[in-house]
Subunit: 676 residues, 2 copies
């Protein structure tokens, strides 16, 4: 990896990146504009520079691997803006074996204390018309399917917006690119703190990308106070796709854990009163009354609609199920008042986070879950009324601790209040980070839905187990769903920044099985075996067994894989990967000799032959293979699977036949040493 | 008073008001526009109407009078919007002897649940080119001096903005008007809840006023959910100026107290570590360091600047003074960390409201104040970073209760965060009201500075003792100050909505007395006697003795009036009044036979002869008259005063000689019955 910094003839700072003598980023502009002028856009003067080398190894609190090597060369360039009081700016580059990170730093200085970034003018000039895996720039949502196209063909105009789309040439990061000469390039950011998310504006003619920061209600990007710095802009580069997925560059560019005592942070699997609402068997709301005002509604007087999911008896059923099968926790959505007209009204007082519906007995469930050794997982849907949530967050967290909850799933559906702010703007970024901090202070784990997409901050806040921030499995219940290729792209895009709560594990794939009238033709775009494989291919320390208990109880043999599969790992090997096509990953369980493998494909059937040389030599393993059944296919025959067991060693190979839209999952449990 | 409602020929609803056969409001349009169309602007259909009469008397928790009569006729007109799904709107008028109030009501209805008011199209068409007492429309501030001009001459363009001025023909309410035919008209609003403040756009040709609502960050005015209603638009009308000041119309249009148990609410006088900062004897900040970040500053390591006002020893001096003179409480500003660069940076993390500076010992002062029978008054300056204050308000109120504080002065200097919101917009209106409610729940009294101007909500939240929301006495220390007429206009404008914490009682009028170098030529635009009179003419249940203890200790004879004057009253008589010229008010102390009188003038010297027939017949009183001294004048000789005592009865008259910019204060204490 090679990084070149230079001032252009006009004094504009630029950088370029090459890898194996191939251009990755051609000379590209650096700079920022400030409100009121006097920014760092235009001719600057270099006043000095320094370099240093760092090579260290650290251990994440949880993760895909036990040890992470952080090895880079750093170049700091000191710049001065002669046109504006000699204001100073540093650009700091870190060059790794697998890519480059750089950020802007604003040193303490007399002529720049409080300042407002109007926009950032960072360019990524690509040398050719790469293939790109992109979603439209949207200041509030990442919940799109990916389009695969040449850069020259990026055009988001025809895509139905989730919230507020930017210009038709604006796409989001992580942006995955593949060049015709075999380079894989991923552009994202690391450690997004006190700054808006960066989108990328594509020039379809030059193949140049320009940063576009998400604006606030007044059109500004970031309110800063020196000394301060931007997030790292990251460019991961490799000559093969698996190496991109193995990169720890983004984690390495984040700060170490701010949480000293981490024994309370527990990777976990959970079930929840959740998918039954998606498949129209139950509702979040207790009554079908609408036009509710939080402050003056007597919830005991509402007429129950008779299919409220979060009722005490039903929750006990989930607790029983979790206890029986060794799943750690039970999420309950719809437990608290306000769901009758919670969405789409841009209303401030929606939820209070502490008042249960009349049929949800908090104390009784607390005692019952404790008696079964199961934890309850709290749910805080904010309806994006974030001012309301912030006012009530202290009380909500106190309520959690009083009632034995130590994990919470948060949600931010809809338009943000403060009105005019966006999910991905600086104010909300600060909210998400502050929320992770507040929760860490209370020893609470958090899973954020509809939050800004991650940038590796789970290193710094390891209680922030997962986020959604992409199009999850739930879309398969509501809409045209996710195409089978979706899960082969997500690891190269969304997951580059951190774990996703994708909610795999759907066994009742044809949703008419739950509600024939309301789910006509609806199905998850998968085979059953692929749902199992996702527990390995989609890394997260928090994994839901998303389907209903009765779905699992009908197929206990397949459910065994979900029971077995760990959520924390000592090692990870990306065996086969191509974005948009396929992915096969093997991982070693944390502190155990067990290994697990997941293999998935897009809509194409594939035969994947996998050498098991990741297994330690000299040991025999029982491999349990959960594979697509004969004639399986995501659309015609998704629920056909077969399970077989065989003994293997590190010298074995496995041949996995993946159905169209299918996959395979394998557990490897040691059964003894090989006789010498 | 007569009110006429009519549909105009084009179907537009209109109203008109006459008083004593004189037109007050000529036929004027009513209506609202909604975001997305389908509002109540344009042709509507009347579907019915009702009337009712109400005559009741109620007792305020504190106030200017013991009993308030609420006597009105109500007309409700039901309207339908045929062009938009038959949406329904009611207009409700209440006609009092001294004016009219009306509001829009949105009944519960299928075709209008959640909706967004884009603007309100209420007109007040005045019949002639009245004299008006106005301040410029500013979405964030009322801190202007008043301009007196004909309506046709309203033009705010030349006035330096405090924050964000609206169009040059936009003025604020309460707007005081005087017609050439001797009518006094005051236009304002009552019960501003869940809606932005109303400004008025003046048509200088037609003398028509049109409502203009303060917009939010996105340009909308109000987010509502039916059933809902707007605030009352109020028109107080009289043929004499005193009757305007005596009007209880705005209070009557507010809801009764929401606080059931009110014994903890105590009208009070206070001193404070405050004016010494204004006169450059002390500072709010502890250090002179700037560029502070709240989260990572070690305050014990800052270098003290040596003149921090809120130090323990100095606060004890104020506690001693309050205890000695029977003043109830001591305000301390600058006690908490963050003042080093608190203003003008649009910064979110400024104050935490719970961390004292190293030289302010909360526990020691709590014990000391308690031992002296004095209450401490908390100070919460938010720097308008309201999201930050809301997040921390619960903790801040807990801190108060833990440390014996049961009253707080809040402040909102600067630009609002959420950025793009305004002090007078719906979001902030809700914040102020919610804050009053939160504090009521904790039995805390509140005095809000830089809040939206009051609209009588102190009836509903009697713990909301006062607000600033106008140009207070402090401007006399900082700027060109307030002209002597200012205090003769405020009762007709700002005070129509509720009590003001004006901070009277400045004895050291020439500020060079405190700091010759930094206060050159600065003075309060008053005589000393006028400062005493303000305790009577400027009604508030919360009155500061604003000057420094040493200023009062030099003039104990004059200070006796401040010690004596009550802050709660059984009766009030406006004896003489003319906006911009003079005001003489007499009030009877709560539960006592004592009366107090204040008389003030503008820059003109005046002799006011006052008949004492407000005193009960058959009793003798000792009148102590605090008057301007010989040769006194606000500019040349402001500190000359004389005190005389004489015996009076209800048959006596007093002749008060008011110096230019001067005033007089009188206490009447009963000394026995008149022998028959």
């Amino acid at each position: 990896m090679s990084l070149t910094f230079a001032l252009a003839a006009n004094g504009q700072p630029t950088y370029a990146v090459t890898y194996q003598q191939k251009p990755v980023i051609q000379p590209s502009r650096l700079g920022l504009t400030l409100a009121g002028g006097g920014g760092f856009d235009g001719p600057l003067v270099v006043t000095g520079s320094e370099t240093k080398d760092v090579d260290e190894t650290w251990q994440p609190v949880w993760g895909e691997v036990k040890n992470i090597r952080n090895h880079y060369q750093q170049l700091t360039v000191h710049l001065r803006q002669p046109a504006a009081d000699g204001r100073r700016l540093d650009v700091v580059f870190r060059v790794f074996a697998d890519g480059v990170g750089f950020r802007y730093e604003f040193p303490q200085q007399a002529s720049l204390t409080y300042f407002v970034v109007r926009d950032e003018r960072t360019e990524f000039n690509l040398p050719a018309d790469h293939k790109a895996f992109w979603i439209p720039g949207d200041y509030d949502s990442n919940e799109y399917t990916y389009t695969t196209s040449r850069l020259s063909a990026v055009n988001t105009a025809g895509i139905e917006p989730i919230q507020l789309k930017a210009a038709p040439t604006t796409v989001q990061t992580p942006l995955m690119l593949k060049s015709d000469v075999g380079l894989y390039v991923n552009i994202h950011e690391a450690a997004l703190v006190n700054y808006p998310a960066m989108m990328l504006n594509v020039n379809p003619k030059t193949f140049g990308l320009t940063s576009q920061l998400v604006p606030d209600a007044t059109g500004n990007a970031a309110y800063l106070q020196a000394p301060e710095h931007t997030p790292w802009r990251t460019i991961v580069v490799a000559d093969n796709a698996p190496a991109v997925l193995a990169s720890k560059l983004i984690l390495n560019l984040n700060e170490p854990s701010k949480i000293a005592e981490t024994s309370w942070i527990k990777p976990q699997k959970f079930v929840g009163v959740w998918w039954e609402m998606h498949v129209n068997k139950a509702t979040w709301n207790y009554a079908d009354t609408t036009n509710i005002k939080l402050a003056n509604t007597d919830w005991t007087k509402l007429k129950p609609n008779g299919h409220h999911g979060a009722n005490t008896a039903n929750v006990k059923r989930y607790i029983d199920f979790a206890a029986k099968h060794g799943l750690q926790s039970v999420l309950v959505e719809g437990w608290n008042v306000g769901w009758e007209d919670w969405a789409n009204n841009w209303k401030e007082e929606v939820f209070d986070f502490v008042t249960p519906y009349p049929d949800f007995n908090v104390q009784e469930l607390q005692a019952y879950a404790a008696s079964k050794g199961v934890k309850m997982m709290m749910h805080h849907e904010t309806s994006s009324s974030v001012t309301n949530y912030e006012r009530r967050q202290d009380a909500a967290l106190r309520f959690m601790k009083q009632h034995g909850y130590d994990a919470v799933k948060t949600g931010y559906v809809g338009r943000i209040i403060p009105r005019g702010e966006h999910h991905d703007g600086q104010w909300m970024v600060n909210h998400f980070n502050r929320t992770a901090e507040n929760m860490a202070r209370q020893q609470i784990m958090v899973d954020m839905h509809e939050a800004v997409r991650p940038t590796g901050l789970h290193r710094t806040y390891p209680n922030w187990l997962a986020s959604e921030a992409a199009r999850g499995n739930e879309f398969n219940a509501w809409s045209t769903g996710n195409p089978p290729e979706h899960e082969t792209i997500l690891p190269f895009t969304r997951l580059m920044g951190g774990p996703m709560d994708y909610t795999p594990g759907i066994f009742q794939i044809k949703l008419e099985g739950w509600n024939a009238a309301r789910n006509q033709g609806k199905q998850v775009h998968t085979t059953l075996a692929k749902q199992l494989a996702l527990y390995v291919t989609m890394y997260s320390p928090l994994q839901m067994a998303a389907d209903l208990p009765e779905a699992y109880e009908q197929r206990p043999d397949a459910f065994q894989f979900i029971k077995d599969v760990p959520v924390d790992w000592d090692d990870t090997r990306i065996l086969l990967a191509e974005p948009g096509d396929y992915l096969t990953t093997a991982r070693q369980a944390k502190g155990k000799a067990e290994w697990y493998l997941g293999s998935i494909t897009d809509e194409q059937a594939r035969t994947q032959t996998v050498r098991l040389d990741f297994l330690p030599p000299g040991r025999r393993y029982e491999a349990t293979i959960y594979a697509d059944g004969p004639g399986a296919s995501w659309d015609q025959n998704p629920m056909a699977y077969q399970i077989r067991k065989l003994k293997v060693t590190s010298k074995s190979s496995l041949t996995l036949k993946l159905a169209p839209g299918g996959g395979a999952a394998v557990s490897f449990k040691p059964v003894g040493k090989i006789k010498a």
